[in-house]
């Protein structure tokens, strides 16, 4: 006999509101329905009443973790509409901030995943690494979240001492390589808790349009930093980790390896940081009539913006945002089918969901 079991919208394992309504037979989940929208904010609608400075501050608040990525994607679209081209130093600073944000997000996720695995020592270690990344972000931008770094045509703050940041990156990379990556890639605890559960096949991932590390853990190799480069990624050398198993362990492996790749990209960008201006010296920003699209590889996958502006208008006519969790989360339904109830929190956490992005 089947019965229904709700997880959420308010649940000790989920700090943000979201509901997974599972249909179970005994201890096994046979199907699930997802419910979101508990914090729907209507940000796209709010954007239509904001000028270009205000809309950057607004979109920065779509997500508290990848706030830099959202303003980067928005500003790239604005640059298409204004004809502004960021100088080389700005493009490199954007890469540095984006990779620090990826590290921050992946380390935070690793900590939460460790906690859900019952690996609380690792949770503590991950949050210590996270603090180191936050220190770097604060050293560059003055803020731990909502960095206010992007503007159309460049960035608001320079990195005057890249050597200091490089030393911090090297120290962090050593810790990640020594502790975090081996634990997640080869420990018996991680393997026994994660291998073979929450499987998302490549076919299903493609049908659901899953993006980012979740897609790469199911054998879909796309990474926009490589497939459609932006900022200065064309000048960076890096690997795109891909796994084929599609289970929680594969998602763990992809993110663990991506952390090391991020450190490598940071090292290149900080070493080769070009001299010169870090933003255009425009006295007034003038928008052309039209729609511009932009997308960026956020820590959780592709962020897409479509921005429409009319000439001489102070405010955009339309700002549309498609966040990565918005396409990743529906796939949880297929991941939990056939899984044990006890694995459901870890499976849903394995997609690294962002409820703030989803309820934008």
């Amino acid at each position: 006999m089947s019965y229904k079991m709700p997880m959420g919208p308010y649940h000790p394992g989920l700090e943000e509101p979201y509901k997974l309504e599972m249909t179970c037979e005994g201890e096994t989940i046979s199907d699930a329905q997802l419910h979101i929208g508990f914090n729907f904010r209507g940000i796209e609608n709010l954007a239509e009443g904001r000028n270009h400075v205000q809309v950057i501050a607004l979109m920065e608040r779509v997500c508290g973790i990848c706030s830099f990525i959202h303003t980067l994607t928005l500003c790239q679209a604005m640059e298409t509409l204004t004809g502004l081209t960021p100088p080389p130093r700005a493009r490199y600073i954007r890469v540095i901030m984006a990779e620090l944000e990826r590290l921050h997000s992946h380390v935070l996720w690793a900590g939460i995943a460790a906690k859900l695995m019952g690996f609380k020592t690792m949770f503590m270690a991950c949050f210590q690494y996270r603090e180191q990344v936050m220190d770097m972000l604060e050293a560059i931008s003055g803020n731990r979240v909502n960095y206010s770094m992007n503007r159309p045509g460049g960035v608001n703050r320079d990195i005057p001492d890249p050597e200091a940041i490089l030393r911090m990156v090297n120290a962090l990379e050593g810790e990640i390589a020594r502790v975090l990556v081996p634990v997640f890639t080869s420990s018996v605890t991680a393997r026994s808790r994660c291998a073979g559960i929450g499987v998302l096949t490549q076919e299903k991932a493609a049908s659901c349009g899953v993006v980012g590390p979740n897609a790469r853990a199911s054998g879909i190799a796309q990474d926009l930093r490589r497939a459609a480069p932006y900022a200065a990624y064309e000048e960076m050398e890096f690997e795109v980790p891909v796994e084929s198993a599609g289970d929680v362990r594969a998602r763990l492996m992809v993110r663990a390896l991506e952390m090391l790749q991020s450190c490598g990209i940071l090292r290149q960008a900080l070493t080769k940081l070009p001299a010169g201006e870090y933003h255009c010296n425009e006295s007034k920003i003038v928008f052309k009539t039209g729609t511009a699209m932009s997308r960026v590889e956020a820590p959780r996958g592709e962020v897409f913006y479509s921005v429409t502006w009319k000439e001489n208008s102070r405010t955009p006519s339309r700002v549309h945002v498609r966040t990565p969790t918005y396409v990743n989360m529906p796939a949880v339904r297929w991941m939990v089918q056939g899984a044990r109830i006890a694995d459901a929190p870890l499976i849903q956490a394995s997609i690294d969901p962002c409820y703030s992005c989803t309820d934008r």
Partner: protein, 135 residues
């Protein structure tokens, strides 16, 4: 032929235009939404989103269907004047939440599918982004 040219040939469309973002846009006078979706899914394209825009009073809506094919953005813009457009959810699952969202924000019906509330609650009326609702 590059992937975009292959799509144009399969849909029997005379080429496309490229916008400032680098996206390829196809004219949609002679194709339907479902034909577009079927062709693109067969070609291995990934559905990204639908950008809905409310046009000035009485002119309906513009729905832009955006796809990724091998890292290239492909767009199809359809004008909707009667608040109805066929659903493509059965062709690509990725459209499920996007169609439900557009329905709730602009009260557009995607025909041939069932709805459950997504961002709104059950007693909320669809169309929360419509301009006349906001005034």
């Amino acid at each position: 032929m590059n992937p975009v040219e292959i799509i144009a040939e399969q849909l029997k469309l005379n080429g496309c235009t490229t916008d400032a973002s680098g996206a390829s846009w196809f004219a949609t006078e002679n194709i339907g939404v479902r034909e577009m979706a079927t062709t693109l899914r067969s070609a291995g394209a990934r559905f990204i989103t639908i950008t809905a825009t409310e046009l000035p009073t009485g002119q309906g809506f513009r729905l832009e269907y955006i796809w990724d094919l091998d890292g290239k953005l492909i767009g199809f813009a359809f004008l909707v004047t009667d608040n109805q457009v066929p659903s493509i959810y059965d062709i690509t699952e990725a459209a499920d939440w996007i169609e439900r969202e557009v329905h709730e924000e602009y009260a557009i019906d995607f025909t041939g599918r069932a709805y459950e509330p997504l961002l709104l609650r059950e007693d909320n009326r669809p169309g929360v982004y419509l301009h006349e609702v906001g005034k």
